[in-house]
Symmetry: C2
Subunit: 334 residues, 2 copies
């Protein structure tokens, strides 16, 4: 009998199997189940959002790379990013800290301080959690939020909410997180600007909420890499995406530090925790009027080449990258 | 400089530090924060409950001890137990599966099947989650539920809801889980009754909900050990507890298998996931009329010896156990 390993089906294959096993016969209260940035659940007159993410020592971070306070911040911020991607309002977090008993108390204190600082900045509360023993440190956050509503209708941005002809726009700049990780590995200080972008992501929650209020119906956060994340939108919305490489807002610090690699880092590096939106051009323009230079248009959704992402250079030729982004469980390319 | 380790402050010391760091200035919506079985959050006309628990390979289970489907079941059931302890209704779960990429897909499928079976039995839905790479398998579940309400008032059972003179009662029988773990380690089949009690805990959700509707205001689930868990009630309610050893409902299978140790297993073994209630004697009697033999009275809450738990034998002499239950992070006794 052949044993099939997780690495052969990858992260998204595994999520698909979970969805298939648990997905039959959902109750009416479940508005969105597995497969978007958050689950959405109707509770009375509220639409609740739920998301969870984990950072594992040795996998998502190495002890030397990041001050513990930064890890606490990031463990919560990546969940805020998921709530932002739905256009929602974060409410309360449950935090699980797994750690070896010989961990210094100072380490846990620093982690909690970073977590607490992030909670204050995004006006949410750590309402509970769990501490467990494990061979290495990991932090799991489950974050509950609510959708904004208008006349009782939830203003949700979904992966399947794009339409052909929508423009694609992203908040902020891209590439600084992957560049920051590279700089850290090369010995840069955690306090330098590029490492900061990697260690303390700052999801654009207010801009995302404004987008949902303006009527944007499709968004995703850029966690695994722009190309891979927009691929999720393409598959969910059954459309194709065409991006213009020259329009991608590569972070200036990334271009300065790694000029030959900056576009690849911005397109596939991941962990920028910016938000990608797809909407009518007029809505995106209105968002930039409300929040000057909040978003940059980088392409269009198309009903051609459904499910695929094309990145074109100045001449119209397609640019190919070695990988679209991260799969957290797939066998890594050699 | 002396480095203080987590093992020196233990699980409850660490939780206290988290509570202190994040606990200032809570919003009005936070009804109960860190320190009960669930956090409680008022969202519109609903009172939401949130809880999270983790099972880690090599810490909470050994690969040889438990079929993977049982671990999936248990990872969810222990969270259902927290919702039951508050008298609530489970709604939806977020599941994080951490595992090495070389894990067989069959293992993940079996885990998900057990999880899914538990979700069906307790009429809740797995609405989302995360899969991450880690050096060993762990399952983290965050479970969201709602409180039952009457005339808009939440019917919550809290650790600090006991009054002097309340009787103390427990659902079901105790000791079978710890006895089952011992039997498993001794080579018993996972399908034998004692191992089943350890591997597939079955929290008495309907009885707990009925108790909350009858007006019981104090409960806790028995996860770490009866003596330790009732100690949490004593400290939160600023009362003492006196238990009669002969009234503790030791599971008959535990007495049969380990006659010399059965009382200790029932009093301090933990993981039975039964519910302990403190309430007026008449309310407990009414519960047993609705659900025959649902609960057994084992003692009283007292305003003497506040914060402490006494277990008395037939002669009125106090019985001392080597440990009240589990601290998941403390240095283990030699």
């Amino acid at each position: 009998m052949t044993v099939v390993k997780i690495s052969e089906i990858g992260e998204f294959g595994l999520i698909g199997r979970l969805a298939a096993l648990v997905g039959d016969n959902p109750p009416a209260e479940l508005v969105i189940g597995i497969g978007d940035d958050c689950a959405v659940w109707q509770a009375g007159d509220q639409y609740l959002l739920g998301t969870t993410d984990t950072l594992v020592e040795g996998v998502h971070f190495l002890p030397g790379d990041a001050p513990w306070a930064d890890l606490g911040w990031k463990a919560l911020a990546v969940n805020v990013s998921d709530i932002a991607a739905m256009g929602g309002v974060p409410l309360f977090a449950l935090v699980t800290l797994a750690l070896p008993p010989e961990t210094p108390v100072d380490t846990a204190d620093a982690l909690y301080e970073g977590l607490s600082a992030c909670a204050r900045d995004y006006e949410l509360i750590v309402a509970g959690g769990d501490v467990v023993q494990a061979p290495q440190i990991s932090v799991t956050v489950a974050l509950i939020g609510r959708a904004q509503t208008r006349d009782g209708v939830p203003l949700l941005m979904r992966r399947d909410g794009a339409r052909a002809g929508d423009v694609i726009a992203v908040t902020g700049h891209l590439g600084a997180s992957a560049a920051g990780l590279r700089a850290l590995r090369g010995g840069a200080s955690p306090d330098d600007p590029l490492p900061r972008a990697h260690l303390r992501p700052d999801p654009p929650l207010a801009i995302a909420q404004a987008a949902a209020r303006l009527g944007v119906t499709c968004a995703i956060d850029i966690s695994d890499g722009l190309v891979q994340d927009i691929g999720h939108v393409c598959r969910a919305s059954r459309l194709g995406a065409v991006l213009l490489a020259t329009d991608i807002p590569v972070s200036p610090e990334t271009t300065a530090a790694y000029p030959d690699d900056a576009l690849r880092l911005a397109a596939t590096g991941g962990e920028d925790y910016q938000i990608l939106l797809a909407s009518a051009a007029g809505v995106i323009a209105a968002l930039n009027e409300l929040h000057p230079e909040a978003v940059t248009v980088i392409g269009n959704m198309s009903d051609r080449r459904r499910g695929s992402v094309s990145i074109l250079d100045r001449t119209g030729a397609e640019i190919k990258f070695p990988s679209p982004g991260w799969d957290h469980l797939a066998r890594k390319p050699e």
